[in-house]
């Protein structure tokens, strides 16, 4: 456990605009993933498993599903009298419009929460990473370097253009951050920022106050780019399995990566479980004639057809003679008898009627919106 007390601040809405219909009615944090989870579960569980006992989740819009999912924080052992989980919805006052424009703006809206915290350190993080991280090591690194701010990064090849929310930076031999770039060009391996930062809570409070008085809104532009000389900003390399969800294709690819045993081992070690809301579903039931290969299946499913290379969420039903390949079927979706799906992502409670055929392509999966009937 972390010797120093640490609190977490999670941004649930960052990256909403990259996830299309998945975030039409929900935050990035509440996007379903991996058969039984929502994206926020990974960062929350990483924090809790690292000894964090106080987490604020900043919500901006569409956060009903997030609130419902998090509840009192009980499943993460965060229903506490001291600390625990606090959902921080937009707060509008005289000089604040409520809906924030950047990370610093969002933090300004919760400056009271930061100020009233008791923890020595604070971890800032988003919900776009699928990872099981140990923050103790990062904080030990931070202390050892005597850093003001420590940023988590990984070595990563940037494959596509249009990465306006990806930040890369130089790291010198000592681990200090040099030059910082936004929206990098695709090229060989670079140091990409994972939008996770550690610093003293008091320092964060000061940064937020100063930013407010100077009308600065972006943590990246106004702090990391502007202050990389005047502050001791260090970079901590994350070598664990990390998958970033920066678009629908990433979502599909990261989901399918769960079918690899080494990815599941890295994400779901027994001693550091990924915690999520309990739904009290029955175990999955396989009927006569079910054929299932290379797939993840959650509790509550009823499978009577063929399922290959797919992720089946809680309570989904696959009808007789239906054939599901390379697809993601979310909670409560019903796939009719004899239907055929390939490269489809069916959102929650979608219904695909009997004998319908829906085919996407590996690099262009077909997304079926929540509750739609086809």
């Amino acid at each position: 456990m972390i010797k120093r007390t640490t609190m977490g601040i999670v941004f649930s809405n960052m990256h909403d605009n990259h996830l299309g219909s998945l975030t039409r009615d929900r935050t990035t944090g509440s996007v379903p993933f991996g058969g039984r989870y929502r994206l926020v579960d990974f960062i929350l569980s990483s924090m809790v498993n690292s000894g964090v006992r106080e987490v604020g989740v900043i919500a901006k819009s569409n956060y009903q599903t997030l609130m419902e999912h998090l509840g009192s924080g009980r499943e993460w052992d965060l229903a506490r009298k001291l600390g625990g989980l606090t959902v921080l919805p937009p707060y509008s006052s005289g000089d604040n419009q409520g809906i924030y424009a950047g990370r610093l703006d969002a933090l300004a809206g919760v400056s009271g929460y930061i100020r009233n915290g008791k923890a020595e350190y604070v971890i800032l993080a988003d919900c776009d990473l699928i990872a099981n991280l140990d923050f103790q090591e990062m904080i030990a690194f931070h202390e050892e370097k005597g850093a003001d701010i420590t940023l988590a990064y990984r070595r990563e090849k940037i494959l596509r253009e249009g990465n306006e929310n990806i930040v890369v930076f130089d790291v010198n031999d000592d681990g200090r951050v040099g030059q910082v770039w936004l929206s990098p060009q695709p090229e060989e391996e670079q140091n990409t920022y994972l939008n996770m930062a550690v610093m003293k809570r008091e320092l964060l409070g000061k940064i937020v106050e100063e930013a407010r008085s100077r009308n600065k809104r972006s943590f990246t532009k106004d702090i990391l780019v502007e202050q990389s000389d005047s502050m001791l900003i260090y970079a901590y390399e994350v070598k664990d399995c990390v998958m970033r969800i920066n678009g629908l294709q990433d979502y599909f690819d990261a989901s399918m990566a769960l079918l690899q045993p080494q990815v599941r081992q890295a994400l779901f070690p027994v001693e550091r479980p990924v915690l999520t809301r309990v739904r009290d579903q029955v175990p999955a039931k396989y009927g006569l004639g079910a054929v299932v290969k290379n797939s993840l299946v959650a509790d509550g499913c009823i499978i009577e057809g063929t399922v290959e290379n797919s992720i089946i969420f809680r309570g989904a039903k696959i009808g007789r003679g239906a054939v599901i390949r390379d697809s993601i079927i979310m909670a409560g979706a019903v796939i009719g008898d004899g239907a055929r799906l390939e490269y489809v992502v069916a959102d929650r409670d979608a219904t695909i009627r009997d004998t319908r055929t829906l085919v996407g392509y590996k690099t262009y999966p077909l997304f079926i919106e929540k509750k739609s009937v086809i």
């Binding site: 479980p273 029955v282 175990p283 396989y286 299932v292 290969k293 299946v297 509790d299």
Partner: protein
């Protein structure tokens, strides 16, 4: 400074313990000796069932779904797992400010301490607990049956009949009646006679071990029973016959759903298999009558490319690489490549290694079945069917590679590789 003048009623007021119309007392102290190695380190109500449940989840969920918010769970035998499992009662929504679930082991009193000597004695020793809620009615349950029942309907019946005691009964086939406590009733359900395991039964209304008592009446009989030397202090043997003999108003409440006593290896195996049979009227999928359980935090189960899974239930956290047919597989089980599991129950955390074959068996928690080991057999392959039965591998038992375990065997200790266990 302590104020000696503060009396109990004052304290009661401060903590505002509200009067309850009814509370439930769940008898969970039974040893379950007929489940052999499955209950060696475990009270019977804590035995795993149906992929992700334990037996006690059924009566506890029934209580909550029937609107009962205060449940006393009477434990005695091997209570450790059960205590930990019940915890704060949160999985059943029984972590209440007002009421909730309470584990009630026997405790020391100023005049000495006693084990629970019988079912009635267990309730008698907890009269002070019940009195704190000042209930009108008390529901008495046991922790060894699988069923879904709305106790609220039974309470309504109890009130309509102005009964002192209502006993839930189930129609059993006449030839099975001699195994049960049988209620002989008048047309309106009034019980005029109770026969424990009668050789020549007059009716087929079997007691399900579920009673609603008007509390004041029950307390009288519990006190009388406690003062009777030589009494077995048992509901079926003493309280019910005594009340009947004294002419109290006793009614049989007919229940017609699925109900199964899982007190033996065979009935436990059958009840699990019933979950796979679409004709059996026990649906766990009813969103209005969920069965709650404490859930481990495990990822969805993974079915590998070479696996075959049909006619089975599989729970989260499993990895299935082999063949599973007509089986119930609990959380976190691994079934390796080439292994075959048929007509079996594999409890949480067990591993079936490569090439092992498990037929008609119950493999308890965290057992390891070695490579190419054969557990049990199929009845159709037996020359002498009388020697056939369900095989049981106990908790935490490791069986080496290439072992053959005969049908009906009960294995409680590790077995080295290449042995044959005939027992």
């Amino acid at each position: 400074m302590m104020n000696a003048g503060v009396s109990l009623p004052f304290v009661k007021e401060v903590f505002s313990l509200r009067k309850k119309e009814w509370i439930a007392m769940l008898l969970a102290g039974g040893q379950g000796s007929r489940l052999y190695s499955l209950t060696k380190n475990l009270a019977k109500p804590a035995v795993p069932f149906g992929g992700k449940y334990r037996i006690i989840d059924f009566p506890l969920s029934n209580c909550v779904n029937s609107g009962i918010d205060t449940v006393g769970v009477l434990t005695q035998y091997q209570p450790l797992v059960l205590n930990e499992y019940i915890g704060s009662g949160q999985p059943w929504d029984l972590d209440r400010q007002d009421g909730g679930v309470f584990v009630l082991p026997p405790y020391q009193k100023s005049s000495g301490s006693d084990w629970y000597t019988g079912t009635a004695n267990a309730i008698y020793q907890n009269v002070p607990f019940i009195e704190r809620y000042d209930p009108e009615y008390v529901l008495i349950l046991s922790g060894d049956h699988i069923y879904k029942m709305n106790y609220e309907k039974m309470l309504k019946f109890h009130k309509e009949k102005e009964a002192d005691c209502t006993i839930a009964v189930l129609q059993v086939p006449m030839e099975e009646a001699p195994r049960f406590g049988i209620m002989n009733t008048e047309e309106d359900g009034k019980v005029y006679e109770f026969e424990e395991k009668p050789a020549n039964p007059k009716s087929n209304l079997a007691s399900m071990g579920i009673y609603i008592f008007t509390w004041k009446k029950l307390r009288e009989y519990l006190e009388e029973d406690a003062a009777t030397p030589g009494s077995a202090n048992d509901f079926g043997k003493n309280i019910i016959p005594n009340m009947l003999a004294a002419g109290e108003r006793m009614y049989a409440y007919a229940f017609d759903g699925y109900w199964k006593d899982v007190g033996t290896i065979d009935s436990l195996w059958e009840a699990n298999m019933d979950l796979l049979d679409p004709k059996v009227p026990l649906s766990l999928y009813d969103p209005d009558w969920k069965i709650y359980a404490r859930n481990p935090a495990l990822p969805p189960h993974y079915i590998a490319p070479g696996a075959h899974v049909q006619n089975s239930m599989v729970t989260e956290g499993c990895v299935i690489e082999g063949t599973v047919d007509f089986s119930v597989v609990f959380a976190g089980v691994k079934i390796e490549e080439g292994a075959i599991v048929r007509d079996s129950i594999i409890m949480p955390g067990s591993v079936i290694k490569k090439g092992a074959v498990v037929d008609y068996a119950i493999v308890a928690e965290n057992a390891v079945i070695g490579e190419n080991t054969a557990i049990g057999a199929r009845p159709e392959g037996m020359e002498d069917i009388s020697g056939w039965g369900v095989t049981v591998i106990g908790n935490d038992v490791t069986i080496g590679a290439g072992v053959t375990i005969m049908p009906k065997a009960m294995v409680e200790t590790d077995i080295a590789a290449e042995e044959v266990l005939v027992k």
